[in-house]
Symmetry: D3
């Protein structure tokens, strides 16, 4: 298949894409047309159906897979498909993995690495908690592997949550070699669990949008509750340990204004916050560099509160 | 008994008080003495034991009830007891209610009024939830009736949590008559439950201090979890309704920087925030006026970010 | 007449509307046309005059009432009138009340209710002040009844100022039953007067825009001066009372950054601020719910600093 | 007389000073004594009366002038008078001017300079306004000449308001030579009037403290009202000009959080804000340098948000 | 030549302009065209080349000088040139000074005035430093005379840096007459040097855009380094004086969040900050008034955080 | 020798300590005495010389080493030495290393590890720069090894700057394994140089206080200048590389309000900021835990903006 990132102005289009979005519109002189957005794992591209009632345009909806005939034009600096014919496809005609952005790392290998972190935890209660969550609950494990870590900002792809969780755990593991006060079992457990609420804050791909609960409660609270519910099924889990672990999850955004209801009050909570923030921001910077053209200066970035530049040296 | 608020400089002391605090110290020329704080329901007063090893001074600890012989002096503008003899009392010699600040309203009458709010809720799931919490759980009901609403800022007395909860519910009830969009069942339920986490955030009187869980998690999260756990025992409780109720509790501080992990996104959540804030601040102002001398200007108040004045008109 | 809110795509238009706005423009190929905005009490609708020099288009200006012949199309999701003929109307052909948004409550009934608040005030000086403003000054009373409480945010309709003032007075009256420290005469007087400056900050409908004085001074200062000038005509009005009343008006926005030059330093000033803020925000939420389509999530709202959702339960 | 700034440790005291403050206290072993603060125009000095009931200590109150016999000791780095005898003086024994801080500039000369600014204003209405305030109202002129510009921060001495007003007018006059858009009549008038409210915000020396109206309303509002009341007595004063002048006064603190209810929206308002701020801050820096010992680094200064240093070069 | 500010809708164009910007685009129906921006010293104007491949359109690039034939239309309220023929010009056909905005003051006269400030400095080290920078370095002097003081906000024209520097020096000179603590030599030297880094932060006209170093380091750091490097060539320059001068330059933005790494800690540093801020803001206000139409209210201005109005009086 | 941390109330003192601070004072009844602070590498202890003019008390000054005879008392919860005899010691009598806090890591070993980082840099210009600074400049190397990283907050001991620099370099090295976009040579060079300005911002132990240049310019600017000056001696050092390296140093505090004049605009600058912040904060937390008693809750910590707790699990 020809991926969206490969098209140039003037190319002909004849391939299957996911219709991410579809909206009716009317031209200035009253003629109806349709704006649609095509998506595959390499990106998205606008398309116009100027003659939606013609014979060649089948009925279809957002999130359908459609075969598009047309050609690529350029409008105000962006490519745009002029769609002449559209056919709605049935499952079997396409490989879903090609239509959503996916981590460049192998999901199974990453999950195996995550399990080795689980196995490194020696405190019996924390170990049992991790087993319950990451080993015994197959449905959760599957959702966790397929989730993104965000709607768009960073790690916004299938496997992104797993990739981010691993990076954070590795940073935390490095911290433990340098700062002797850190309780490694607590910190690794907190690192592995800190974003599990995201499996319920965001719907799975191809939608990958905030759920109702995600907007009303947020992944910090959802994740804390998931941990609390699992702990309530473990005999003898110490209350103080439960409080410390939940505190790490609650405070991992570091600042009240970023949605943590408590600031980090334990050294492990502080460490988790630094690891989460470091990985999120360096990954955002990486994705920005990957997705920009070759200019040196890449414009103002809201999250960095500055214009940002590619390193030249 | 003679209450602490009644003493004047020069009075003799011979009565039983709660020893709220006790600390060893040494005078400039090396002589040991003790700083203690006496408490009854009308307030606190510093005392000094200049000769802690004399025969008349029995052994005692903080939170003991002690009979104090001495006289009232004044040091740097504040009254201070010079304690000559101290005897530790045993239960039966004193009436505990006299030693902690207590709401001026009758606890039973307030609880009855609260139950009439419970009974006014018609949605079956919300009604069942309130029954589980406020009617069927006698231990919680007792703790709820005896808790304060804060360590010091406002409603810092036995029954304060109940009194504040009722005030908020009444304000919300008034709002419902004025703003037709408000869902009364949801708002009243949220008002009754918004601070139930305080029963675990603060220990009971006479200690009335933050618990470990209180500091690590806070009453907003604790209360949300209590509601979540109770709901999990109610068959068929709608998930959307659970999300809305929890959202109201989570967001009732109104701003992220005040510890709410979400800003109010529902009109009932906004209303609850206004009611909670209005009652807390007007009660703080009331307690300030009650506890100040007769000056017009009462000094800078951190919570109001201004000097504050008694109304003269 | 057919109201603007009733139109659907494809409808024919033949009725009289207020021309709220009119601007010349040129198409990409150099042809002049006109953008106009039609208004009635149910809302506004864009219209285009593609052939402004044709015989059927009479001369007209913004704020004229015009009879429009045309048809309704849809452009980028919004309705738009394609105006073929336009005739300027003379007074008598239309009922002005139909062209501006109006409170859903009866103005006379509301004013009567306001006067009962005036009569409830027993302090002779405050009572006389309210009589001077709301009873003896017929011109002011008329302006007060017809003003909106804001250009757009909330209560932005004829009678909005009266409706908001009444709501605030009722909230304050409720507070007086709950908080014994409040001086009811002072608080009710302050509630009734707190926004009288808006009669000079905003011009009347159909314009309803900021006046020069409104922008340079603002309704808080204008209102304080109006109260000061009226008091100067009342013999023996106590200076301290004047200071307290003015302070309540000056500080009713609660925070310096919202334009109050003083923070509330009296309990009545604090109460007025809570009432004003509560009514403004809950009314904004109500108008948002009224004016949105049936989606659950209603998008980011600047004033609430969050995405907002319709309650589902 | 020997001025307070001249005393050294070990000096004997025998002179008349103003008793600025007086408070009863009790030593650790129960003996009453008195803390008093002596003041003359060069500063203040703590004093202790260790034996207030002895024959040599007459009755006296705060703001009395008293003759003090004693000697100068040093306590924790500051000088302190050990007062052995105190006699209350009657008017005639002392020259009040010696006991309050006074501008180093001659009041009459400064007022004359201010009047030449008044005379430079050519707009008839503004000129008449300034005449009414600064020439025709002798009582105001006297108060204006004797007021300080602040309780303590800067220009906190008799004549300080006059000195600050002149400095601001001179800066504004300089601005007019450089920025042609400035309307000199408006700017000079605003400069002369910007702080007239301070005559009512602060009581006169020796008290020099906030009045009740000062705290409830503030000098910005009081001054705006004074200007408004004077204008109402001038026939034909243009309403637009009144709005512009009041706006300059209202906005001269530059930021809402500094108590201006409006930000500067006219170029003259902006200029006045810069002149007021520049003079206030450079005068504060000057007084800090004058009142510090010879250290290079003068410690953290809240108003400058930094440690501050004497220039060495 | 006919200047851009003189054109009206319908005028014919036949003159040479600087092409500031050029971008390819495609119409909705796939036809390529070009957006260009024409500039002369009176402003800029959009132009469209609807037929870029026609014989009359020569090849040209951004920053070329081009002769344009066409006519002026109006699109969405702004003038726009419909370019029919374009010819690229060679140097000699046009006078570059006509194509960039230039200070209304004579550059040589301004530089002479600046040198008289240099000569007024009596401290031998500071005087030698200023000689090295402004007299002995001809290349720098030329760049300094031709630089703007900003990309757009204020003094954004050839000679703007010189004009701003002079204004600041004059304000500082005035301060020295009023505030006796100011060291005039230090303050004038700092005023003359405070923005010399701008010669390397911004490229020269016609580009006048941030350089790479400008974005990475900023003019404050660049200027401090320039001063440091020059001082290192002056024998015996006192280290303390170097520190004080650099501190003035570093702190002249007054606040850390405006890019000064230190807050003003010397009275000269504070004075320089006030002078820089006053001149920048009053010049911005002046340029705004110059460049606006005759409306009273000129809309919201980000830098003043308010709507701004032309003074009417 | 007996270390300060080992003393208990009642112990006799007879050993040599550093006199960190000395101040004259007068008792309430006029008797002169002296407050001094004794220091060794384990901490500080207050001492009083009640009879400074007695024969047994030799003359001495702050920063002298003195032999103290006396006994340990306790005043308001803190130990205090009552000094009876004091003798000023001459060098040779004491080992200076015992009197200042020292890193628990060996300085030579750490410097060797730092040099291995220097050797790992392959870019010839960056490598030469590091050689110039850390290898060829013996005086700098010595100062760098003996400096603290701060006056008090974290790493406030001899070798602290070296220890912190190494920690930051190790964190950066770990980042390079995880984030492929990072240029390791640039990041390691920036890590090694980021705080070299601290050798001039703080004086060496035992004083360890801000220098004049430290307060006026700060270590960020001083360090940038040091790098700039060294680069100017390296032939052919690329200007772009110089800008990038300086930018990393300038922006390593991450936020303008923390004294960085630029926000990180390069991914290496962002990474350096995360490493610096992570190490500083986790080290502060570590030192807090080390220096606190065994309580769980350790009180409010300004830098963490929260109460902080020891992990119990």
């Amino acid at each position: 298949m020809k991926y969206i990132r490969e098209y140039k102005e003037g190319d002909r289009v004849l391939d299957i894409y996911l219709c991410k979005h579809k909206q009716q519109a009317v031209t200035r002189n009253g003629k109806p047309y349709e704006n649609i957005i095509l998506q595959d794992k390499t990106g998205t591209m606008d398309a116009k159906v100027w003659d939606p009632n013609s014979a060649g345009i089948e009925e279809f909806s957002a999130l359908d897979y459609i075969e598009v005939h047309g050609e690529v034009t350029s409008f105000q600096g962006a490519l745009q498909v002029n769609a002449k014919r559209i056919r709605r496809c049935h499952s079997g005609e396409y490989t879903p993995e090609n239509y959503v952005p996916v981590s460049s790392h192998d999901a199974d290998a990453m999950y195996k690495e995550l399990l080795s972190f689980v196995n490194s935890v020696q405190n019996q209660y924390l170990h049992q908690l991790l087993e319950e969550i990451f080993v015994n609950d197959a449905e959760f494990a599957k959702a966790f592997s397929q989730s993104s870590a965000a709607k768009s900002v960073h790690h916004g792809f299938v496997g992104g949550l797993l990739e981010h969780t691993l990076s954070v755990a590795k940073l935390c593991s490095h911290y433990c070699t340098a700062y002797g006060k850190l309780n490694k079992d607590l910190l690794i457990t907190a690192a592995l669990c800190h974003d599990i609420g995201k499996t319920k804050e965001l719907s799975l791909f191809p939608e990958n949008d905030y759920t109702d609960a995600g907007q009303l409660l947020g992944h910090i609270i959802i994740g804390t509750e998931m941990v609390g519910r699992t702990i309530s099924r473990i005999n003898g889990f110490p209350a103080v340990l439960e409080g410390e672990l939940k505190h790490c999850i609650l405070s991992h955004h570091g600042e009240l204004e970023y949605g943590s209801p408590k600031k980090p009050a334990l050294i492990e909570a502080a460490a988790l916050y630094f690891a989460d923030n470091t990985d999120a921001k360096l990954q955002m910077f990486t994705e920005l560099l990957d997705n920009s053209d070759n200019s040196d200066w890449l414009g103002y970035q809201k999250w960095f509160e500055t214009n940002v530049r590619r390193t030249i040296v």
